[in-house]
């Protein structure tokens, strides 16, 4: 008997992949109000004029999910989350450089 292996294709969450406000809410398990607050804080930035037209880079999914965990686990407020996310991104960029030195 021949066995056929089915390989699953996922979606790569990179700058090219776009998602709507509804997608972002669904993926992160939050309501639109939470995303609005994060936009005000500069945690994620949509493209488009009205919230219906908003489109986010899929990178936003990770930022929102991380912000939610930082709020829940470490009681970091939203401005603190914005700062932590920017610093974490910088760290991520610098760590490989340090490793090679």
């Amino acid at each position: 008997m021949t066995e056929h292996t089915i390989y699953i294709h996922g979606i790569v969450l990179n700058e090219e992949t776009r998602c709507t406000l509804a997608d972002l809410c669904l993926l992160c398990g939050v309501n639109a109000e939470v995303i609005h607050e994060m936009i005000d804080e500069g945690i994620v930035t949509p493209e488009g004029f009205s919230s219906r037209e908003w489109s986010f880079s899929a990178i936003a999914v990770k930022r929102v999910q991380t912000a939610i965990r930082l709020q829940r686990d470490l009681r970091v407020n939203l401005p603190g989350c914005a700062l932590a996310l920017d610093l974490l991104e910088e760290l991520e960029a610098l760590r490989p450089l340090c490793r090679r030195r």
Partner: protein
């Protein structure tokens, strides 16, 4: 197809709840030294415990820490604080005395909790479940855990995992088979874990740190609700020749002084096999050559290979060889330190 290293990170705590859940074998239970976990003395005040908790929680938060066991440590820290923050639980825990060591085989003496009221009621504090067998045998299950049996419909939780792939797989795309540990519940409500194997496509041109979302491949839902999603974060395996910086692949290429001085065509390894590269005459060490499209490319984005030349001088071991260097010194006198005089 390669399967190199796979480790699971579950921010949901759900997995740990069932892995270490109430059905686990009591005989394997290990003592947990909550004071050591938080790094405080047994005499610490409640304020000191709170401060120590906040400090270590920040340090080992899985989103912040790069330590490979941050997830486990963060869970232990939360559990330790859950006990030590509450004077009553702390007093009960302290009854075991200070002779116990972390990891030591442990079984609570009968009626150890006489005089305390938390037993059986389940603890009320804490934001997460998934505490250890040790904790649950002493203080009962979390409210969330107890309520779970009354929830008829619940979407499955998302799972987060890292997958380590060789650069070559990122360059050309690959297929991988990965295995996750999943909790399963039988008809009697007993929980065990079982391996869950997935065959996934690694898309061509994926970059380190990017995540692949596999819809519906997270933990199963309850009562007909959909499963959660699985997020796979890409980590590149260390490569002896290449390293990636975003889409670009870097390689240091050793060349001889005459190749660098006179120019040459040499074979250069790429992730796509060796290619012939022309080294221009008069190249200095550190010169960078760009091989277009030999980095991590997708349909819309291009990465290049950056080749950095490194001139390696041959050792002069014989008189004839030393004379060659001397002849060079005579024929082409030059001072590379011009401008450094003080």
């Amino acid at each position: 197809m390669h399967f190199f290293l796979f480790f699971l990170i579950s921010y949901s705590y759900f997995l740990q709840r069932y892995t270490n859940g109430p059905h686990a074998d009591r005989h394997t239970m290990e003592y947990k030294d909550y004071y050591t976990i938080l790094g405080v003395s047994r005499e610490a005040t409640q304020d000191q415990i709170k401060q120590a908790y906040r400090k270590v929680a920040r340090k080992f938060h899985p989103d912040v820490s790069k330590e490979s066991d941050a997830e486990t440590k963060f869970k232990d820290i939360g559990e330790a604080y859950e006990v030590l923050r509450d004077p009553e639980k702390r007093a009960a825990y302290d009854k075991f005395g200070s002779n116990w060591r972390e990891g030591q085989h442990f079984e609570p003496p009968p009626h150890w909790d006489a005089g305390f009221e938390f037993r059986g009621a389940g603890y009320t504090g804490g934001q997460s479940g998934g505490f250890s067998d040790f904790f649950e045998s002493l203080f009962g299950q979390s409210q969330a855990g107890r309520q779970r049996s009354h929830v008829f419909r619940m979407q499955g939780e998302d799972q987060h995992a890292k997958i380590v792939i060789p650069l070559r797989d990122a360059y050309s795309g690959a297929r991988q088979t990965i295995t996750l540990t999943r909790p399963t519940v039988d008809n009697d409500g007993r929980v065990s874990t079982s391996p869950h194997t997935l065959h996934v496509v690694i898309p061509k041109g994926i970059v380190e740190g990017q995540r692949i979302r596999l819809e519906g491949q997270g933990l199963p839902g309850y009562g007909g609700s959909p499963a959660g999603d699985l997020y796979l974060e890409i980590v590149f395996q260390e490569d002896p020749l290449f390293h990636a910086e975003k889409r670009d692949i870097h390689l240091t290429l050793p060349v001889t002084p005459w190749e660098a001085a006179l120019g040459a065509t040499v074979a250069v390894p790429t992730l796509d096999g060796a290619v012939q590269v022309k080294i221009p005459p008069g190249s200095q060490s550190g010169k960078k050559l760009r091989l277009k499209g030999k980095g991590l490319c997708t349909a819309n984005q291009r990465g290049d290979q950056i080749v950095t030349l490194q001139i390696v001088i041959p050792e002069a071991n014989t008189d004839a060889q030393r004379n060659l260097y001397r002849a060079m010194a005579e024929q082409m006198p030059f001072n590379p330190r011009t401008g450094m005089e003080h």
